[in-house]
């Protein structure tokens, strides 16, 4: 193992800020739950009532985990933070392992290091140990913060230990993925899929067949039952799996070539199909994966909201502040709730719209546009094709969200009649989203240095939707957000005038951006 120590020191130096931010983030996730739960309920009776309504909500259980001791601060912390905490350490482990394995191999730096007098496994071992240490740090900080809150000492330590062990399992999985695939992207895809499957298994298991939860390391972590009859057995399962995965990674490492993976890189087509080599076909191809991903993700978000069904009242509770949010448009609480849900879906979907509208910017920055525009392709046609794809993608993403919402609602209530209306209501948000896309075009065409400011437009939209009415901000300020002008469907009837007006604004912004792009230097 010559050289492992030196590698490890170098990795720790390079990663020290990563360690700190991940650990602080995870600690905040747990500690803030404790603080907020403590501040929320003044009497134990109130706490008991809230806990009783929460523990029957299937959607919450699917999202967070099995409901245990929800009328205690510890129980709440474990319930609300553990599944997400496990995902956080999973992502951290994936990135830390990726940084020192696949990324290094792809860049060729690892080759340089391996050629020096170190053992073959030195960098692999250093990457493994580095990630294990990072997880120990996260677990320790979480445990210390909870003990200091103060919560039960042994249970709080178990929360931290279980979290660190989850991270160890994901470290092992990431290390295996790094041996299987031959590219960083592939490695992240496999590790990310492992985290998603592990999370989904326990979600399905927790609301359905508990056996599935016992197939998931996150399920094992939650099965340690901190603050509600702590047991250490499941921790051994985590430890065993982490060891097995790491061992497997070492075995695989010995069986693959440097730079390659156990799975050979799949060759692609040696010729381009005709549809790829048109301006529009190419723009679509460029964004296809992102459109599919976003549409799927938003559909799941819609499904989650829809599955709350018409049992909205118990969920929101009696807090007058939250009731205000939902009935601001007038109408029933259910319609008010879904009007906000649709606005949220639209705002999340606008994340796609803005990133899609900024795609030409990142293409230009990475120097790939120059070669394209040195052909018979005009600047205008190239950018117009991107505009068309952004519009089509936005429609698809919003439709995915509306469909998910309608289907979720239909599944829970047995009323499929709202699928169509929910779909239309959601797609109606295409107008303000395209205004944000227009803003991105304008900046890109005229002031490319400031193109990323388009995200500020979305930020403003989010702020105004959530806080505008609550804080009673002046009308002109709220009016700056394109989302402010649209009717809050289905709580209010749809209005055509703002819809058309917003589309016209979007069109004007886009046109100016196109003209500006035609007149400026490429970067």
């Amino acid at each position: 193992m010559t050289g492992t120590g030196r590698f490890l020191v170098a990795f720790l130096r390079r990663d020290r800020w990563h360690y700190l931010w991940w650990a602080l983030g995870a600690t905040l996730l747990y500690y803030s739950q404790a603080v907020s739960v403590k501040g929320l309920y003044t009497t134990q009776a109130e706490f008991d009532r809230a806990a009783a309504s929460m523990q029957d909500n299937t959607a919450f259980i699917a999202m967070a985990g099995p409901a245990r001791a929800l009328n205690t601060i510890g129980g709440q912390v474990m319930w609300q933070a553990s599944a997400f905490g496990a995902v956080v350490v999973g992502l951290m482990s994936m990135f830390l392992v990726g940084r020192h394995t696949r990324v290094e191999e792809e860049s060729g730096r690892d080759e340089l290091l391996r050629a020096s007098a170190v053992s073959r496994h030195a960098s692999l071992t250093a990457a493994l140990v580095g990630s294990l240490l990072a997880n120990v740090l996260v677990g320790a900080l979480v445990a210390v913060s909870l003990v200091s809150f103060p919560l039960d000492r042994a249970d709080s330590v178990a929360v931290g230990v279980g979290l660190a062990l989850c991270g160890w399992v994901f470290t092992g999985a990431a290390l295996v993925a790094a041996q299987l695939t031959s590219s960083t992207r592939g490695m992240y895809a496999v590790s990310g899929a492992v985290i998603a499957v592990v999370y989904a298994l326990r979600a399905i298991g927790d609301v359905g067949d508990p056996v599935l939860s016992w197939l998931s390391p996150i399920g094992w972590y939650q099965a340690m039952h901190p603050y509600s009859g702590l047991r250490w057995g499941p921790a051994l399962l985590l430890l065993g799996l982490a060891a097995a995965a790491s061992g497997a990674a070492y075995a695989l490492f010995g069986r693959r070539d440097f730079g390659g993976g156990v799975w050979a890189a799949r060759p692609g087509p040696d010729r381009a199909e005709p549809s790829l080599t048109t301006a529009l076909g190419f723009a679509w191809w460029l964004q296809r994966a992102s459109i599919i991903g976003w549409t799927g993700g938003i559909a799941l978000l819609g499904l989650a909201y829809g599955s709350i069904g018409d049992d909205v009242g118990t969920l929101i509770g009696d807090s007058s502040g939250s009731q205000d949010v939902f009935v601001q448009g007038g109408g029933s609480l259910v319609d008010g709730f879904y009007a906000v849900a649709i606005a949220v879906i639209a705002l999340v979907g606008a994340g796609f719209t803005v990133s899609s509208a900024l795609r030409p910017h990142s293409e230009e920055e990475s120097g790939r546009v120059e070669v394209l525009l040195a052909t018979g392709l005009t600047r205008r046609r190239w950018l117009l094709a991107q505009v068309v794809v952004t519009i089509a993608g936005t429609l698809l993403v919003l439709a995915g969200g509306g469909l998910g919402l309608g289907v979720g609602f239909g599944l829970v209530t047995g009323d499929g009649g709202r699928i169509g209306p929910f779909l239309l209501d959601t797609v109606g948000y295409v107008a303000p989203s395209l205004v944000l896309a227009g803003l991105a075009r304008l900046l890109y065409g005229v002031l490319p240095r400031w193109a990323y400011l388009a995200w500020a437009g979305l930020g403003l939209g989010v702020l105004m939707v959530f806080f505008g009415p609550l804080l009673r901000l002046p009308g002109w300020l709220q009016g700056l957000s394109p989302y402010h002008h649209l009717a809050l469907v289905p709580a209010e009837p749809f209005r055509w005038l703002p819809f058309v007006a917003l589309l016209l604004v979007a069109g004007a912004l886009t046109a100016v951006g196109l003209v500006g792009f035609g007149r400026r230097d490429l970067r």
């Binding site: 792809e106 060759p267 692609g268 040696d270 381009a272 790829l276 070669v371 525009l373 052909t375 490429l522």
Partner: protein
């Protein structure tokens, strides 16, 4: 329109500034039909900026830029159908295979010669089924070269096209460029590889700090530089020190070592002759010296009289 000296690229007085930096300062450059024109200069001299103005990527501040007689800013796409461009640093889309990129660029240019495409892929030993992210620098360069060389165009604009290629691939490249010229094509080749320049280029232009400092055939350029002379003489030479164009003179008894501007060599040798030449070594400047002189610091301001006429 005459076809003998028709200028494919005609740049005069081109100025381009970025903020306060003056990247191009009244630059002139002419590439005539059928020639391979070497475009040389130290890093940061403005070669790529010139090419990017020529391709309509950057807007000129002032001066005249004609490409095929047209305006490259206004008619960019139209003119681009007649040329193929290879940048010095090729960036590919991580998910697109090399073969897909070749077809994409070729078709957007208006079509590829299928037979040549096939031959180029084979000669460059390029695997067209690999994805962009897994190509090495040299292989990314090959993808762009195949796409350019397989296109049916009149002009190749090549910005350090062989950086990252091994010597064998470099010679394949040279061979195809020679073929292209033999077919009547014109090439603007920015390069640092002097062997490549010497083998391929009919004429070269050297730029520094955004201005052209020299242009002409390589023979012309050699003519403009100094020759090193070592002479063993019968008796000490006189008058050499006073002769204009003689530099670094070192006389040790009957031995004289000096450099002389190549245009003055006749007079210098005349003086030596009068002193009785026993042995004489005259070394013309190597290309390296030529360029080092132009790339280095001790360069006089551009003097129009010194610019040889290439025609």
């Amino acid at each position: 329109m005459t076809f003998v000296n028709e200028a494919i690229v005609d740049i005069s007085g081109l100025t381009k500034t970025f903020g306060t930096t003056r990247a191009l300062d009244r630059l002139d450059l002419t590439v005539t039909r059928g020639e391979v024109h070497g475009f040389l200069g130290p890093n940061g001299a403005g070669k790529s900026t010139t090419i990017r103005v020529l391709l309509g990527m950057l807007r000129k501040d002032s001066g005249e830029v004609r490409l095929f007689g047209g305006d490259p800013w206004r008619d960019a796409a139209h003119l681009h159908r007649r040329l193929a461009y290879v940048p010095g640093d090729v960036n590919l889309w991580p998910n697109l295979t090399g073969g897909q990129v070749i077809d994409l660029l070729g078709r957007l240019r208006g079509g590829l010669d299928e037979e040549r495409r096939h031959g180029l892929v084979e000669r460059f030993e390029l695997d067209p089924t690999k994805k962009g992210r897994s190509y090495s620098k040299g292989n990314r360069q090959k993808v762009a070269l195949v796409a350019a060389l397989a296109s049916d165009v009149d002009l190749l604009v090549l910005d350090e096209p062989t950086s990252g290629l091994d010597p064998i691939m470099e010679s394949v490249f040279t061979e195809y460029v020679e073929q292209f010229r033999a077919g009547g094509g014109t090439v603007l080749l920015s390069s640092h590889i002097l062997a490549e320049v010497e083998r391929l280029c009919d004429r070269v232009s050297i730029i520094r700090s955004g201005r052209r400092v020299e242009t002409g055939t390589l023979a012309d350029l050699r003519h403009l530089t100094r020759t090193s002379v070592v002479a063993e003489l019968a008796r000490p030479v006189t008058g050499l020190a006073e002769l204009p164009g003689v530099h670094d003179l070192d006389v040790q008894g009957e031995r004289a070592i000096f450099e002389v501007d190549t245009v003055r060599i006749d007079e210098a040798v005349g003086l030596l002759h009068r002193a009785g030449i026993r042995s004489l070594t005259a070394t013309p400047p190597t290309l390296e010296e030529l360029f080092l002189r132009h790339y280095g610091d001790e360069i006089p301001a551009a003097d129009p009289e010194r610019e040889a006429d290439g025609s």
